[in-house]
Amino acid sequence: MGPGIIEVLLEYWPIFLQGMFGTLKYAFIAVSGGTILGALIALLQLSKNKILHTLSLIYVNVLRGTPLLVQLYIAYFFLPLVFPALDVIGKEGTVVLALILNSSAYVAEIIRGGINSVDPGQSEAARSLGLSAKHTMTKIILPQAIKNILPALANEYIAMIKETSLAGTLMLYELMYTRTILANKYLSWQPLFIIAGIYLFLTIVLSFLVKRLEKRLAVSD
């Protein structure tokens, strides 16, 4: 069996801490990048241009309909073959890029859903006043949609914290990768429970914060 969980934690806590920060960092980059890209995809999905609409639909469905692990492997092993320019961002950058693309598909759905949740009468009233399409979106629709979008984005971040564990298999230094490090020290099972505990801690704390955010946003209704 070897040493106990507590002993391992006491001895190797800096490794786990670094892994935890890695996880938070990669999840944050993925969702932030995914939000910018996803907003663009959502606008394309809502666009009246049939070609743009269809392309964005395919994009979202492919990325949501295939496992992230497969996407990461394709990014890691295949993309550098066809796009040697990706060398610039390195293996790590390529994996992060895959996380961003994956997240963007989910965020696009979140934003599209948020926009669609706003009563069409709001847009009609704005346009009937002579507001431009742009002003209608920025001044009327988005400020109302954000109430639905923000908590969903926060939940996407929580989901991404768990998803990034897959990137650990591709040598990104995040929480799951600490298992690989410590396996070299003949610690086969202890790190798994520590890792699981840290994931659980992160998701519970963040879920609690999202609940409070939702409550605060609901007050203005």
């Binding site: 009468g121 709001q122 009233a125 346009r127 009937s128 006043l129 002579g130 507001l131 431009s132 203005s220």
Partner: protein, 247 residues
């Protein structure tokens, strides 16, 4: 109504389909400057669709909508500029819940007509006073009753200084005790000479304030006339049947 009739909104053979359903079957009609026109008729007959075509909230399937000489449904037309002169009031109020009463009114003039904030606010307060809402200026719409929301919606449209006001069943979503106050505001507006097109189920109101009644049924204007002619001496069979049910 002035003796000299100046056309304000004209439709030419206006048709509108929703998928296979032909809702408007070719309506050619002119609304003149200063006129108060009420549109009545059975539900599903096309009266709201007709009204919504006048500012192109519904895009006509074919035909033309001409506002102050401009063909609105031409591709080259800058619709936003013309819509600023066509106020619209909706059945469901559609006030902006995330903005205060005052901001609901000042938003469009400041954004699209570049009115200075102080001027927009002064004008908004004046309008709020006219409809008895000046003490609600800094409230959010959720604190307002249905009748107050609709009065807000009316002055929000008025703040753009439109040349015509379209009302789409403005009292249908109101509790009965709220109806009178809103009709009063519309009536005052009509008396200032504002051109008004009103889709309504309030027959007494239509009779009282209209210069002309349009009866729309099954996608066409089945009958039109002065309130006097229309209510006392309807000619069309469908009109007679409709009136016998609602009066």
């Amino acid at each position: 109504m002035t003796d000299q009739k100046i056309p304000l909104i004209e439709t030419k053979n206006l048709k509108k389909n929703f998928n296979d359903l032909e809702v408007l079957k070719g309506i050619s009609e002119t609304i003149y400057k200063g006129e108060v026109v009420s549109i009545i008729g059975p539900s599903g007959g096309g009266k709201s669709t007709f009204l919504r075509c006048l500012n192109l909230l519904e895009e006509p399937t074919s035909g033309e909508v001409i506002f102050e000489g401009n063909v609105l449904d031409a591709k080259s037309t800058d619709l936003d500029v013309h819509r600023q002169k066509i106020g619209m009031v909706f059945q469901q109020f559609n006030v902006f819940p995330h903005l205060t009463v005052l901001d609901n009114i000042t938003l469009a003039p400041m954004l699209e007509k570049k009115v200075a904030e102080a001027d927009a606010k002064a004008k908004a307060m004046e309008l709020l006073k006219q409809v008895g809402l000046e003490d609600k200026a800094n409230e959010y719409p959720r604190k307002l009753s249905g009748g107050q929301k609709q009065r807000l919606a009316i002055v929000r449209a008025m703040a753009m200084e439109p040349d015509v006001m379209l009302f789409d069943e403005p009292t249908s979503a109101l509790d009965p005790e709220m109806v009178k106050g809103v009709l009063e505001v519309i009536k005052q507006l009509a008396e200032t000479g504002m051109t008004c097109v009103i889709v309504t189920h309030e027959m007494n109101f239509a009779r009282e304030i209209s210069d002309r009644i349009l009866f729309i049924d099954e996608g066409i204007i089945a009958e039109e006339g002065t309130p006097e002619e229309f209510f006392s001496n309807p000619k069309n069979e469908r009109t007679k049947e409709f009136l016998s049910q609602v009066l």
